[in-house]
Assembly symmetry: C2
Homo-oligomer: 355 residues x 2
């Protein structure tokens, strides 16, 4: 693979289980995905986490680099103030690695607001994009289909043109990273008719309908989100975030409720539970968010994956895989090509736009 | 019971299964709850549905009255236009029965926008209420706790004071109908801190915190909705409606996914499925919306229950029971007492307000 392998900067200090689980996930990705990982954070803590891994010879770690960053932004801190004050914060140093072309992507399970702010401050927005959005991939009722929801938390007060940009970026991500030919785009709304919804939804519906770059198929109600009928659904970051956190909790609640019901039975029921266990495991995998690794911050000049604060090694591994896919599929270049810097026009008015 | 029994006007023509299932649910409520039911709609169709019930002697139906209304508002119609044009529409005639004091409540599974518009036009708002809200009761992870979410669809663009009124009405409903002593009120938001959220959420948070009538315990994130930590959660009708429809769909999807997993097994798995069947049934009951009957339209001068378009007899029965509870608990009078007509003040400034 040599010098062409993807280089991923990992915020080793970010998240509830940092640095041990972050380092473990990074090592797994190094071994299984052939990426280079740059572990950013307290060098001594990272080394201690590496030393704990008995399966790894830390004196011969090819493709694993430690980049020292002696400060951490804590969860309670206000992002912009903290970033200004802590110039050696791990998330800031990680972003600078991308800026200096020493890495192509950043993965962080730390303070998501700080990660977003650091990306905006250090990398900047892509030309033509007013607001970056966080995209999250949800499973659907169809085991072979997933749906990308954006924005799930970067922007709480949106304008129609922001949502239009989310739709364009989402379409590119869905097609090239998730492999969907001509992805079907929906607008999250409370009814099917174009006239339904709040002011933002009504005005956005019209802009999406007129945009020739995307295949807009109409409004998606709450019940349609997991139907598999849509590949990408756009919404403002307030409703998207509420939906994301609700969906994650529902998965856990359903499993717990089911477990309570099953365990409350007699021995025949317990025997039955044993027999259906493989099904329950597969079921858990289908509804479990850990499989998906994290959200992609779309619209900044670098690949940034924002993972759950509760991420463990497998989640971090999945996030790194997602970063690698985004790099390999040239997502940023494809978004840029839709918004030529010279004109800053919307894709709708470009006769050369792909359909 | 005599003349004190509750009189409920039922829109017999509303919903996918009208009038047969509506009539069946109303008869069951008549028999089991001791309410009087007024079946509003095409008299001949209602009579035909009654005649189909072999368990009922229609010549001796005490407490069941047919009120003729020869028009129906169809699902595709624009509510206000349709209500103006169809003066004999079943939903409009049903509302007029409450206005004329011939009934105390309306139950409808028809066009929800039309039901809301008819309530506003024919009954009007309660004094001090700017916008009525639809409240929906969700199950929580705690089998003994439910949570009331409002608004789930009446108002898509809200101001902080609307949400404050929702909180007051929700607190009254939770305490007197759902039987919660000092209900805990939350604001749906995307973070715990008061500064989090969109413009509406930030401003509403402050108003709720200053309102001495309610026990506001802070922001509720998407993951907190079903936690059982909140008794009432307020939000604008856009996000509330998305959440409601998403939650309903998730319940169905989970059950279907689980069924697919279970049926895809060999004979041992099939035996296991048989053995855990009672658990699955109880589980389904806990997540199934049919149990809850419908949403209460709070803030209009009459008790109005808006049921699902897909409602069958059991759902209609539950909706009528909900209407009866709201009447018995004097919800409207209690809301009115919080907003004395003379001053139209917010409850926060009333020294006599209960805590």
């Amino acid at each position: 693979m040599g010098s062409t392998r993807a280089r991923i900067a990992i915020d080793a200090m970010g998240g509830d289980n940092a640095p041990a689980e972050i380092v473990a996930g990074a090592l797994k990705a190094r071994q299984e995905l052939g990426v280079e990982v740059l572990l950013v954070g307290h060098a001594d803590q990272i080394k201690a986490s590496l030393a704990q891994r008995k399966d790894v010879d830390i004196s011969h770690l090819d493709g694993v680099e430690i980049v020292s960053a002696e400060e951490v932004i804590e969860m309670h801190e206000e992002p912009l103030t903290a970033l200004k004050r802590k110039r050696k914060a791990s998330i800031r140093v990680a972003m600078d690695l991308v800026k200096e072309n020493r890495a192509e992507a950043v993965v962080s399970a730390g303070h998501s607001g700080a990660a977003m702010a650091a990306a905006l401050l250090r990398l900047g927005r892509l030309p033509g994009i007013d607001r970056p959005a966080i995209g999250a991939v949800f499973p659907t009722i169809n085991p072979n289909k997933r749906v990308l929801i954006l924005d799930v938390g970067a922007n709480v007060d949106c304008r129609p043109k922001f949502l239009e940009q989310f739709a364009v970026m989402g379409a590119i991500y869905s097609e090239y990273v998730l492999g969907v030919a001509q992805p079907k785009i929906g607008l999250l709304n409370i009814g099917e008719e174009p006239s339904k919804g709040n002011d933002l939804a009504v005005r956005t519906h019209q802009m999406l309908a007129e945009n020739s770059f995307i295949s807009f198929i109409g409004n998606a109600e709450g019940r349609d989100v997991l139907s598999g009928n849509f590949d990408v659904i756009v919404c403002d970051g307030f409703v998207g975030n509420v939906l994301l956190k609700f969906a994650e909790a529902v998965g856990e609640i359903v499993l717990q409720t089911l477990k309570e019901e099953l365990l409350g039975q007699g021995w025949l029921g317990k025997l039955g539970t044993k027999l259906v266990e493989p099904s329950l495991r597969r079921f858990k995998q289908r509804v479990d968010h850990v499989e998906h690794g994290g959200g992609l911050l779309l619209g900044v000049a670098g690949v940034c994956i924002i993972s759950h604060g509760s991420s463990q090694a497998q989640s971090i591994f999945n996030a790194i895989r997602l970063a690698k896919e985004a790099i390999d599929c040239e997502v940023l270049e494809r978004i840029k090509s839709q918004y030529p810097e010279s004109t800053q026009q919307s894709p709708v008015s470009q006769p050369s736009a792909e359909s």
